[in-house]
């Protein structure tokens, strides 16, 4: 038994959990926990704004599958991580966030930098703790990681009052111990995630899959969280069923695979949207029938039966009633479904209807309605062209991060994802400013990979200061700003649905000067005005490996994201680019 302070125990507990890197910014209440970091092997990355710490932890988790760790002080620092916590909660990202708190005796007195952190974060965390006894620290840290990474992953917050971590305060004294897994289980009597699917339901699912004529696999982010990409591929290839990958699942199934139909939803490919809409069986795997996917709900996939697999029982039947609901880990359940399908095929029990007409129909949609844009010779630079060139010139396993808006949709549509964990983005919450810090977090987690962030000019201005962090910490991320001088997605909606009345949406292409700004932050800055310079500039950027690079691509302000299903419409009403040749 070793005597130590609560602060030392906290850092030691993180080491015990295998934490290699954490993102944060110190301040008054958390000071005693920062002191032992000097002697710890954990790498701490000093951010410039606490929101950055949260998104970096999230980017790290996306790219590595390991929980991201952020640590900040009390009050305003805690409120600054609320956005990343909510973002991670909605996208089920495993994260542990440690916040400082005023001493126990001062709680509730409106002390300096005091806020009700656990109260504020109650609805944006999977669970949170206010530590009231230094001796609880090892147990709570281990519990927090267990909760964050099992079941449906999510962020867990630990609020730590200063007196119980401060070695100068007798309240912080404790004897070190490390709880066993059994201790953790015993301490969480209400937490038993169910990972194994119900055998009868799995059999029923297999039968339904083989008997359907027009099935579609609707793969969501749960595939990636469950490390189920291989299992998904096996199921798709065994059954010959086409796969749509939601925004959160891009990369879970390779875009180059003949069975891949790309992204469904509001800005999905025509074929992904329409094949779901016309299917007779939706096999929802780790997806949650988000409104951006379903469009108007009562007109969504009207003829489809639904098999719904999710680790979170509350997702089953939340939006769309499932004919076969299966609670369980996506990988384990898919593997069981594969077994059950093989058994049924071998036994000859089930007569499979001919699925060739459906495959032919899908092929026809793909041929008639491919993704479209038109980069005219000498014309304004098209954002899609930039993304295609970035993709062509980057290694196959390059990681792409994005912010939120048009550039995000262009990225998801035109980047070809070949590997899981190569796409880092904010799906559910739609957090502008996510790209820069998330890309930094991803690069820290995967230093062997090239990491590009495609960002909008609006997004970039929200969190750009984290490039100072990247330069200082030698994290060579690459940022492509698709600078169309507007809040592009808002502009698109104002053009299409508000009679071209552009309200508070113009940002200017030159203010700020992105190249100078990049240089001021220690990055290399480039500007590209025409399509002719795109390739050469990307090549230069790709060659830089010792500092961050920012390219200011001046893109066409009037370019819109198509296809589009307008808000409130059903998925039968897909608007394609008016410039695209009309389809017979």
């Amino acid at each position: 038994m070793t005597n130590m302070s609560g602060g030392q125990a906290l850092i030691k507990s993180l080491e015990m959990m295998g934490v290699e890197v954490m993102f944060g910014l110190p301040g008054g209440a958390i000071l005693p926990v920062y002191d032992p970091i000097i002697d710890s092997p954990i790498r701490h990355i000093l951010v410039r704004h606490e929101q950055g710490a949260g998104h970096m932890a999230s980017g790290y988790a996306h790219a590595t599958g390991r929980p991201g760790v952020a640590m900040v002080t009390s009050g305003p620092a805690a409120t600054n991580v609320v956005t990343p916590l909510c973002d991670a909660y909605v996208d089920s990202v495993p994260m542990v966030c440690i916040t400082g708190q005023v001493p126990l005796a001062a709680i509730g007195t409106d002390a300096f930098q005091e806020c009700d952190t656990t109260g504020i974060t109650l609805s944006v965390t999977k669970h949170n703790y206010l530590v009231t006894d230094a001796r609880d620290i090892p147990r709570i840290v281990k519990e927090a990681f267990h909760i964050a990474t099992t079941g449906r992953p999510g962020p867990v917050l630990i609020d730590v009052p200063k007196d119980i971590v401060d070695p100068k305060n007798p309240r912080s004294a404790m004897e070190w111990y490390w709880p066993t897994d059994e201790d953790i289980d015993a301490g969480l009597p209400g937490y038993r995630p169910n990972t194994k699917g119900h055998p009868r339901m799995i059999k029923e699912a297999a039968r339904m899959i083989l008997q359907s004529r027009k099935p579609i696999i609707y793969a969501g982010g749960g595939i990636l969280k469950a490390r189920a990409a291989e299992a998904l591929k096996e199921l798709a290839e065994l059954t010959g069923i086409h796969v749509v990958t939601t925004l959160m699942a891009r990369g879970a199934f390779p875009d180059s695979h003949p069975l891949c139909l790309g992204m469904p939803g509001m800005h999905g490919t025509y074929t992904a949207i329409t094949s779901m809409q016309k299917s007779d069986l939706l096999i929802a795997l780790g997806s949650r029938f988000d409104d951006r996917v379903t469009g108007k709900l009562d007109g969504f996939a009207p003829e489809a039966k639904v098999i719904h697999v999710d680790i979170d029982p509350a997702e089953l039947g939340k939006v769309r009633k499932a004919d076969v609901p299966i609670v369980g880990d996506c990988r384990l359940v898919i593997e069981e479904i594969v077994k059950a399908v093989k058994q049924l095929l071998d036994s000859g029990e089930v007569e499979r209807p001919d699925q060739q007409p459906w495959a032919a129909q899908i092929r026809e949609w793909q041929e008639k309605h491919p993704l479209f844009y038109d980069q005219k010779e000498g014309g304004p630079l098209k954002p899609q062209y930039v993304i295609e060139k970035l993709r062509e010139q980057a290694p196959d396993d390059c990681i792409l991060a994005s912010g939120v808006g048009q550039h995000q949709m262009f990225s998801s549509q035109h980047w070809k994802f070949e590997h899981p964990y190569t796409w880092v983005n904010s799906g559910g919450l739609g957090t502008m400013g996510y790209a820069v810090p998330a890309a930094i977090g991803a690069k820290v987690g995967r230093p062997d990979r090239m990491v590009w962030a495609v960002d909008g000019d609006g997004c970039f201005q929200m969190t750009a200061q984290e490039l100072v962090t990247a330069t200082a910490e030698r994290i060579p991320v690459k940022i492509a700003i698709l600078n169309n001088a507007y809040l592009g997605m808002v502009r698109q909606w104002q053009e299409m649905f508000y009679e071209e009345r552009y309200s508070e949406v113009y940002l200017s292409p030159d203010l700020p000067d992105y190249v100078k700004w990049a240089e001021a932050m220690g990055c290399v800055g480039f500007r590209v005005d025409s399509a002719d310079d795109v390739e050469a500039t990307i090549e230069k950027a790709n060659a830089i490996d010792d500092r961050p690079v920012v390219i200011d691509f001046r893109t066409d302000s009037t370019e819109k994201v198509f296809p589009m299903v307008p808000a409130g419409a059903t998925n039968d009403q897909v608007i394609t680019d008016p410039a695209q040749a009309p389809v017979q």
Binding site: T118, G119, L122, S123, K126, H127, L130, T132, I147, L188, P189, G190, Y191, D312, P313, A314, G317, K318
Partner: protein, 180 residues
Amino acid sequence: MAELTSGVKHHTLSVLVENKAGVLSRVASLFARRGYNIFSLAVAPTDDERFSRITIVVDVESAPLEQITKQLFKLINVVKISELHPDESVEREMLMATVKAEAGQRGEVIELVQVFGGQIIDVGHDALTIELSGRPAKLDDLEELLRPYTIVELQRTGRIALPKLERTAPRLRSLKGKSA
């Protein structure tokens, strides 16, 4: 009030939670966050001091009830949830009411309370405070009957409930099963 307490839209959830600080606020804020209304709520520790039991009466249709139950169960500190159907549970609630009872009417009120098996727990010069515990519907009835005398103040606890016990011994039941 009467039709609300006995209305079909009401469901009683018995929620076993860890007896820890902040658990009630987690439960209550979940209802607020998901847009459900709590009709009544009673909470106290159980015989095992590690756990408390929260009895919540919710006014929702059955479909959202399933969702709220699942969401509740996602709270780490929630150990067990059971829905208690009125036919399969025993429910009790307590009511305290101060009723105007001037000299001429005092006898009537006392008689009424006695018929219901309630108690007079405080007497003032023109009012009485009465107490009654029992099935929520019975409380509704007394409340209705007291109304003409003018209710000055009224407080109900919210209901608590436990499942009904088995009426048949297990051995007999299995025999019955075999013969069928």
